[in-house]
Amino acid sequence: MKKPIKEIGVCSAVLWVLTMALGAGSVCLAQDKVVKVGNIIPLSGPSASVGQQGKNAREMAVEEINAAGGIKSLGGAKLVMLYTDSESKPEKGVAEAERFINTEKVHVLTGCWNSAVTYPTTAVAERYGIPFIVPVSVADKITEQGFKTVFRIAAKDSWWTRDQFAFLRDMEKEFNAKLEKIAFVYENGDWGKGFAEQWKELAKKGDYKVVLDEPYPSTATDLSPIVQKIKRANPDVLLLVSNAADAILLTNTLADYRVKLKAIIGSGGGHADPSFLQAAGKNAQYLFDIVEWETDVNKPGAKEANEKFKSRYGYNLAGESVDAYLAMYVLADAMERAASLDPVKIREALATTNLGSGRGMIVGYDAVEFDKTGQNKHASLVMVQINDIGKGMERITVWPKNARRAGYQPVFPMP
């Protein structure tokens, strides 16, 4: 009876030693060779489609970074991606952040696309001091919580309207035109009314005269009364916030009633809907629209990155996926400079980011640099003009000027 027990004892002792050795070894490996990135994004539920786009873009970027030798200052450490599904639910995001930090011991977190999820989840990261990169979640308040560990790459909500007015100013300068009278027409929801509030402020500051401020129900079946109002107010510029059906109807009705304007500016949404160009056709010509990113952005590598992405996943890069792609390069750049896996050092490195070139910089603006709140202060949006330059109506990037499609001269004012 004694012998077997002894044998078992020996065996287990050997096993124990082996386990310890292996365990220690893997811990050593993890500390030296791997940067663990925890990604909390919606992979099911209503936002699953954009969540998947973000995941694909991250995968593509990380593959490129790792193939190029990983983080050289960490001995060629590879980026290792961990994904979890937020289901677009704030409580799920918070719980997964806790798990990533405590169980998976991630070095950096990214996410969460839905502003409602990002907002509470960044608070978890802040509590543990783990850096949190937000590629895109647009609610202003995310970087206005006084947190030290939050870094947002995309432009925030209030910058959309800011850029629409900056664009107007730049066009006035470039074409030596004077715009005075401005009209706001917007769908009667949170989105439209929120934009209109900000427009009013900007118009006051910019010394424009607001000749019409008109909300309309997005379910309207006849927009000719609104178009008549626009015509009679006779503005130089018309700013719009519309959903798809009303964007098409407005564009067609404006053309029917021969309303003469110097510029029409959309706010994405309905004007960026894939069926808008087809349904509005020639009537959409010369219209301007604001977007996060457009496939023709005149930046080195943008076209190639989009082609690679499209051949792998079957669709074009968009604002969301470009920000996610860039986020991985921002992280790699920070890790290179931090040369450490200590969250404090990584945070320091992120805070001093000034990334102006490299494979990830395919966005319309010049550099990624975070202000004190962690907001990328250079982030801006791009303006496109809808025009036909021989291949049917298409969206052509015109602003900022250094991102403008090569050889394209914007048509302004509208003929």
């Binding site: 009364p225 609104i226 059906a245 009633y257 069926s275």
Partner: protein, 295 residues
Amino acid sequence: MVFILEDTINGILMGSIYGLTALGLTLIFGVLKVINFAHGSLLMVGMYVAYWAVTLSGAHPYLTLILVIPVMYLFGYYLQDIVIKPIFKAESEVREPITVIIVTTGVWYVLDNLTLLIFGPHYRTIQENPLRGKMLELGGMLISVPKLWGFSAAVLTAAAVYLFLQKTSMGRAIRATSLDREAASLMGIKQFKIYNIAFGIGTATAGIAAVTLVPFYNVFPTVGVLFDIKGFIIVVLGGLGSIGGAILGGMIIGVIESVGPQFMAATWAEGIVYGLFLLFLFVKPSGLFGVRYDW
């Protein structure tokens, strides 16, 4: 004021088209005593039929009526015969069968989602067409030509349906059934045959409305819902079951929608429409031309 005149004309034109979309709703209610929640979806189906007919043939939109009217009539006829009739029979003892209303709601969801599956969520408008974007200039006023066509179609359709109900023996049978289906049955009128025909005619008028809309409006799977809501208001305003009331009710709403925004925000003009709806329900629930006492 030339502006007011211009807006009033636009309101009357657009409103008559609203009335036309509600014509089938009021007809079906008058005969079957059932609120057809699928009516907007029938309009949507008509719009898709008209859209494809115009796009594929390149013909004048109103020529497609030759196709749209019979297709929609048969669609309505068999929808009632196959889907709705069995439920009716199961509830034959009840005067206003609630389950039939629920079935029409089901038909609405099925049609909208089937369209979404088949054609996708895209918004479509017909291009390159003799009616698209045409405007008539009249002493400084701009009047939409496609809406003018729609107005004529609405008035003619309403007149034709009215004459059909008044002057033909089939029309008399339909009216008899709507007055008292039991007595009508005793007189040898086949109740369910009449229901099928009434539903078919109602659906065909939705098809005509669809043809009037296609030249200037978008086609998409949930387009029916937008017109459905207006349809209910118009039917209450004009009086349930009244053909002329539907067209006039439509015109009233059209004028409020068109002239109102010139004096206030468009969202307020919409508020007035709903306010009027409530006022009528309180003060004159039978509408402008409805029968005061239920028979």
